[in-house]
């Protein structure tokens, strides 16, 4: 099945975001769910250390604790929604998306490295493409627009290396 029209999908995504604003009083996110999971994991292993760590400590101090974080429940929904959509469209398939230039192993390693860099970047920026670019973008936050422009600038700066991988 072909993917949907990007503009129609974008309007649908905008309505989902608007629904989050209206009904939840907040926008969408993704990296916050990883932050909550990391906090919960560290707190389970070393509760005293987690509470004293300035990053994990702030997440722990929130009502309900890290496992009740709004974004964690939301991201579980994202996984379910993505799975259902792919299943309905006949797109569920075990695969590794890659260019001819790299082996599946290298592709996984580069994907992991890219993910790690995004984890560091999202920590510094207090959010990612969802929580900053989309959500903060629609709310006209200066920091969110700064993040978005910086992210695309850096993406285009490494594009020549990316091109070799995907040829």
């Amino acid at each position: 099945m072909k993917y949907s029209d990007p503009y129609l999908s974008g309007v649908a995504l905008g309505l989902v975001l608007l629904g989050a604003f209206v009904f939840a009083g907040r926008g969408l996110g993704a990296s916050g769910a990883f932050a909550a999971t990391a906090t919960g994991t560290v707190a389970a292993v070393a509760p005293d250390y987690a509470a004293s760590n300035p990053y994990f400590g702030r997440y722990l101090a929130r009502p309900g604790g890290p496992w009740r974080e709004w974004l964690l429940t939301e991201i579980i929904g994202v996984v379910i929604g993505g799975f259902v959509s792919a299943a309905l469209a006949g797109r569920l398939r075990r695969s590794v998306e890659r260019g001819r230039g790299v082996s599946p192993g290298s592709r996984l390693a580069i994907a992991f490295l890219g993910g790690t860099m995004m984890g560091v970047g999202a920590t510094l920026a207090r959010g990612c493409t969802s929580g900053q670019a989309l959500t903060g973008g629609a709310l006209l936050s200066v920091g969110s627009w700064t993040f978005m422009l910086a992210a695309f600038a850096a993406g285009y700066a490494v594009a020549p290396a990316v091109k070799r991988m995907w040829q």
Binding site: P6, Y7, G10, L13, L18, G19, F21, F23, A24, R26, L28, A30, S31, F34, A35, V42, N53, P54, Y55, W70, E74, G77, V78, I80, G81, G82, S85, R91, R94, A111, G114, G115, T116, G119, G121, A122, L124, A125, C128, T129, S130, G131, Q132, A133, L134, G136, G137, L140, V142, S144, W145, T146, L149, A150, A151, F152, G155, Y156, V158, V162
Partner: protein
């Protein structure tokens, strides 16, 4: 329990929409950086403009209170630096945090690798935060918005962003026609008509937004600076 249903439902709709648009596929996202497939830009900016116009009009009609919505706070230099690191990682991975979850959910191993990398990166950042906590908390500007940065009314900024987005959509269609001419056919005319109609609708909505914006910052639309009592800081991402 009922407190979990709302984020779960919103998440399901979010993941479903991303997958429909093809954003669970790293090849498609990578096309954004190689300029062969600008779906990321088109989806993102259609979404931003839709939500932005929706918020503007709902608050103008008095149906929602903008002060009840958490605006991500600005930490200018950390967010600039974070954006640079994030963007380089994004282009390498071919997926961002939200889309990596969709990619993993549809069976893609590279999606799962990005998910594992994200967890590792955030865990490592948290463990080493004492080394850069001063930078992390530096340059705090609170809930700072483009209208107050530019000293322009809310509606004018909304119109400006809508115009920039439409110009971007037109440019994106031109770039794609040059870089990936194969896939185009009779669908192209339909796409262009749809773009034109959507663009005009956006412009009309945005122009109306400006026309009805008096220079009164205390009206619901102008009150972008949150009242301390109502404002709750955005959490995490």
């Amino acid at each position: 329990m009922s407190g979990l249903l709302l984020p779960l439902g919103i998440g399901i709709a979010f993941g479903f929409t991303l997958e429909r648009a093809g954003l669970g596929n790293a090849r498609k996202l990578t096309g954004q950086f190689l300029l062969t497939d600008l779906t990321v830009f088109k989806v993102m900016f259609s979404a931003i403009v839709t939500a932005m116009l929706g918020l503007f009009w709902l608050s103008r009609m008095g149906w929602i209170d903008l002060n009840a919505i958490a605006i991500p706070e600005t930490y200018l230099r950390p967010q600039l630096a974070g954006g640079l690191v994030f963007g380089a990682g994004f282009a390498l991975a071919g997926l961002c945090p939200g889309t990596s979850c969709v990619a993993a959910a549809s069976g893609r191993g590279d999606g799962a690798a990005v998910v594992a990398g994200l967890f590792t990166g955030i865990l490592a950042s948290g463990l080493t935060i004492p080394l850069f906590i001063d930078f992390y908390d530096s340059d705090a500007r609170g809930a700072w918005t483009l209208p107050s940065l530019l000293h322009l009314p809310y509606g004018t900024v909304v119109l400006g962003i809508a115009i920039v987005a439409i110009a971007g959509f037109i440019a994106a269609e031109r770039i794609e026609r040059r870089t990936a001419p194969r896939e185009r056919g009779n669908g192209e005319r339909m796409t262009r008509i749809r773009v034109a109609v959507a663009a005009m609708a956006l412009l009309v909505a945005a122009v109306a937004a400006v026309a009805r914006t008096p220079d009164a910052p205390n009206q619901s639309g102008g009150a972008r600076k949150p009242a301390p009592t109502l404002y709750k800081p955005a959490s995490g991402c």
